[in-house]
Symmetry: C2
Subunit: 219 residues, 2 copies
């Protein structure tokens, strides 16, 4: 029986951070599919009462523990496994710094942007996409500059800050309408280093729910 | 000579978190005014090279250390002072969970929304305000429900999660165009508990730059 269960679905980059971490540390885990798109599961009172009051994925279940927020899950798994763990006060503060920046400004904006581009009904107003895109460009520029000076966010080895940054950065360029790899060379090079880590998998190979059934198909 | 210096300005709720924490723990500190509005200081190459590559306030200077991201500053000050510090693994993970949620979804959206409403030029598109407002309503609703069941975010005493949540929640209602205190009674009650803490001050009494000179006035 797997040690961990992860509530997730393939299209969520927030869930991908946790799924990727589980794979990278070699944990025994299984996904619990959350029907976000067809069933609106995260918005149901049942999900909010029993799984996560924040109405989000991912949620990690480990024995009696139920943890939400990917940054919490990464911290917990790093402390338990000793892998991707920042060491000492300086590294811990620096990893937390990039984790917060990522959650608010990098993947924190990439996620909603990609959702609006691909799945929002009614279609989003162009002004909203332009607003988010400008903030994404700023945040990716800062990240690219950071990674141009060192192989991983806080130095020579990958930590949970890098696992967090992976969130939406491995999804196909056509889902964003722009190519992060082409526009940000240091992020592109970092992405190759992350892909080379043992256990790395693409989000669509790691979590259930891809491809989605076409509209009208199935339930 | 003050032990801490904080790069900040009065209108920044992100900086307020750090300034409030310094006051609540009784630290000796002084503000370093950042000319965000008239001078665009956080966007200058000098600021990004010498103060914060992320182009943000707050930045805390303590001896040789220079810390950015309010969540990092709160963590650091809690560990040094022993005040507002979550204790044990469960509390640490739970405080981090609310800190991340706040940074991404509560104050993470309230800050840009209030900026657009009051200071953006050209004026923002209504669709952008509507997009942000819907996300703010969702996040404040989750927070209000949480605080209706306990006095502070993670239980019976205030922690850095509450100091973080304070970010934009004490600025005047007219700066948002809606009254958080009226719409969210549990947040309103929590706010009174925070205001009662020794050392609490309003952001405009704690950081420099308020009121702003009228357009055309001064430099």
């Amino acid at each position: 029986m797997p040690e961990y269960k992860l509530h997730c679905f393939a299209q969520s980059g927030n869930a991908y951070r946790a799924a990727l971490m589980l794979n990278l540390i070699g944990a025994k885990w299984e996904p619990v599919f959350v029907d976000f798109f067809a069933g609106g599961e995260t918005r149901t009172p049942k999900y909010r009462a029993e799984v996560n009051e924040m109405g989000e994925v991912p949620v990690l279940v480990h024995g009696e523990r139920k943890l939400s927020q990917s940054g919490v899950i990464l911290t917990y798994l790093a402390e338990r496994s000793g892998k991707f763990r920042p060491e000492g006060e300086d590294e811990r503060l620096e990893a937390l710094r990039w984790l917060l920046f990522d959650n608010q400004k990098v993947n924190g904006y990439l996620g909603p942007y990609r959702f609006l581009v691909n799945w929002a009904k009614p279609a989003p107003h162009q002004a909203v996409l332009d607003f988010l895109k400008a903030r994404i460009v700023n945040a990716l520029g800062i990240t690219d500059k950071r990674l141009s000076a060192r192989p991983f966010l806080i130095g020579d080895r990958p930590t949970i800050a890098d696992v967090s940054l992976s969130g939406y950065l491995f999804y196909p360029a056509e889902e964003f309408g722009f190519d992060i790899g082409q526009d940000y060379p240091a992020i592109a090079a970092w992405r190759e280093r992350i892909k080379a880590l043992p256990g790395w998998k693409h989000p669509y190979d790691l979590m259930p729910g891809h491809p989605m059934p076409a509209a009208g198909e199935g339930t």
